[in-house]
């Protein structure tokens, strides 16, 4: 089994819900309560050393409960390994703590997840829309937002 997942399970036995290594990618599904501690552990532990936050994104599993998922992709420059951390959030309460204190570079990724999915990052310094214009209503990448529904600033509706 992979060293990353073993250490993670050993350190946070109650927070790690499940792990797998399908298709060669180490993945851990964790609870959201201590997410900042988990990420900081992944960054600082001498065997893991995940100093790069490569990506953060949201996924909308419409029809499932919990509906949303926040996915972190991390990379270690020194150890050359990767891990994927996933957190599931309910539709009524899509709130999770921000990871900006762990990696400052994750700031805009969280803003994009807010803009596109409506996932609220508690403690984020500037949680505003980043890709769409300010007046846009709704969260565009949710599965129940129709692809071609336009809210134009100027120009016709259709």
């Amino acid at each position: 089994m992979s060293i990353v997942l073993d250490k993670l399970r050993a350190q946070f036995p109650s927070d790690v819900v499940s792990t797998h290594s399908d298709f060669g990618d180490d993945t851990a599904l964790v609870r959201r309560e201590r997410i900042v501690e988990i990420l900081a552990f992944l960054r600082d532990d001498p065997d893991l050393r995940f100093d790069f936050a490569m990506d953060l994104t949201g996924v909308d599993y419409l029809g499932e409960d919990p509906r949303f998922e926040v996915v972190y992709h991390l990379y270690s420059l020194e150890k050359k390994h990767r891990v994927r951390i996933k957190v599931r959030l309910h539709e009524e309460d899509p709130v999770i703590d921000t990871a900006v204190s762990v990696w400052p570079g994750i700031n805009w990724y969280e803003r994009e997840a807010w803009d596109m999915y409506g996932i609220v990052f508690r403690g984020h310094p500037n949680l505003k829309r980043i890709l769409m214009y300010e007046a846009f209503e709704g969260h565009a990448l949710r599965k129940d937002y129709p692809k071609a529904r336009r809210q134009p600033t100027i120009g016709p509706e259709e």
Binding site: D22, F23, G24, D25, T27, D51, F52, A53, M54, D55, T57, V59, D60, V71, H73, L77, K80, R82, R84, W103, P104, G105, I106, N107, W108, Y109, M116, R129, I130, L131, M132, Y133, A140, L141, K143, K147
Partner: protein, 405 residues
């Protein structure tokens, strides 16, 4: 901050410091490569604070890909980083192949390496060319466009289009290399491209004006670059030896002998030097790849991913059924999720694909290399002047198609 400007007027001291000025730069501005916007707070010409804004080219790649089949996503990937579209095609195809658990034949892997490296070269040419135009040195732009046209001729021969190539497919490529293509590629890589790089080098590298405008402009330390998530030439210019082709080799990069240029201070001059050297190293890789190019098929021999040959389709009922099923339903990919990253010209281009089985993706997230770079621009230019912002923005190579998706 500005010192009070002392004027001798009957012993009084005049304080000319005024309120900081808020200025909007862009989104339609020659130096912002269109569609980038900055809200700048200035004290005279010095930048006190900079807030970047983008989204002016948001074309909903993710939403479109959710409503398309696996193969229909490939044209959307061309338009991500539109100066090196073949690399995006390769990155996406590799991600889906990882999810399907197939490996393309060796010939296809070599071809993918060749087209990735030639795309890297043309991307760096655009970056340096347009960066220098912003600084006023237009000649390099014209010089770089000549080899680009030669390469476009080759790419057009390969897949029919100059820019939006859509060359790779899940499990292989659109078509094999045309007759004599490798010879023509070699003659371009031995002729026009090195001459052009040498010409631009002679014009710029020891040029006093260039050095004054780029040395010490927009520096970043390795620690900050890693914390901000930089990858690619900007990170290597800061001194961090991270290149996916060496650290997590994919395709057949581990068979080739090439070097990774590393900078020292992470300023604009270092970024330029790293890109110039990377172009030379890419030429080395292309030479080795063409020398070692094996024969054989280009597409994987699996009826689930490759159309059967036309002669089979006309003779054999099974091949006909295969053909029909494949055309009507498309590629069927198993359920699961995967993240696959390649070293694109700007940094790590990652594709995170979530599939629930079936003919189309559930979600595709592109991790654009310019996203953290654009986020880091205020960090690079705080305390410097607007003219330095222009130099830094050009050298960081923000491609809006990739940034906004």
């Amino acid at each position: 901050m500005a010192e009070p400007f002392v004027i001798e007027t009957r012993g009084e001291v005049l304080d000319l410091q005024a309120e900081p000025m808020r200025i909007n730069i862009g989104p339609s501005h020659p130096a912002t490569h269109a569609t980038l916007r900055f809200h700048a707070t200035l004290d005279g010409e010095t930048i006190l604070d900079l807030v970047p804004e983008f989204g002016y080219l948001h074309r909903c790649f993710e939403k479109e890909s959710e409503n398309a089949t696996w193969t229909q996503v490939i044209p959307y990937t061309d338009r991500l980083n539109y100066v090196s579209p073949l690399m995006n095609n390769v990155g996406y195809a590799m991600a889906v192949e990882k999810l399907c658990g197939i490996e393309v034949p060796e010939r296809c892997q070599y071809i993918r390496v060749i087209i990735s490296e030639i795309s890297r070269i043309i991307d760096h040419m655009v970056c340096i060319g347009t960066n220098m135009v912003d600084l006023g040195a237009l000649t390099n732009f014209w010089y770089f466009w000549k080899p680009r046209e030669e390469v476009y001729k080759l790419i057009e021969e390969l897949c029919g289009q100059r820019l939006t190539t859509s060359y790779t497919r899940i499990g292989g490529a659109m078509a094999d290399l045309p007759e004599g293509w490798t010879d023509r590629m070699l003659s371009v890589c031995r002729g026009v491209i090195p001459e052009c790089i040498a010409d631009v080098n002679a014009l710029l590298t020891k040029n006093r004006i260039f050095i004054e405008r780029t040395m010490g402009v927009g520096p970043i330390s390795p620690k900050d670059a890693i914390a901000l998530g930089f990858t690619g030439p900007c990170l290597r210019a800061a001194g961090v030896p991270f290149d996916l082709r060496k650290d997590q080799p994919y395709l057949v990069y581990d068979r080739f002998d090439f070097d990774i240029p590393i900078g020292e201070k992470g300023d604009t001059c270092d970024r330029y030097m790293v890109r110039m050297e990377e172009m030379r190293q890419s030429l080395r890789i292309i030479e080795q790849a063409i020398a070692g190019l094996p024969g054989g098929p280009v597409n994987v021999d699996d009826p689930r991913f490759t159309l059967p040959g036309k002669d089979q389709v006309y003779e054999n009922i099974e091949a006909l059924m295969n053909h029909f099923k494949f055309i009507m339903e498309g590629v069927q990919v198993p359920a699961g999720e995967v993240y696959s990253a390649t070293e694109a010209a700007n940094g790590e281009l990652g594709f995170y694909i979530v599939s629930r089985g079936g003919g189309g993706p559930w979600k595709i997230k592109v991790r654009p290399p310019c996203f953290p770079l654009f986020q880091g621009i205020p960090h690079l230019v705080k305390g410097q002047m607007i003219a330095d912002l222009v130099a830094v923005l050009g050298s960081v190579n923000i491609i809006a198609g990739e940034l906004d998706r």
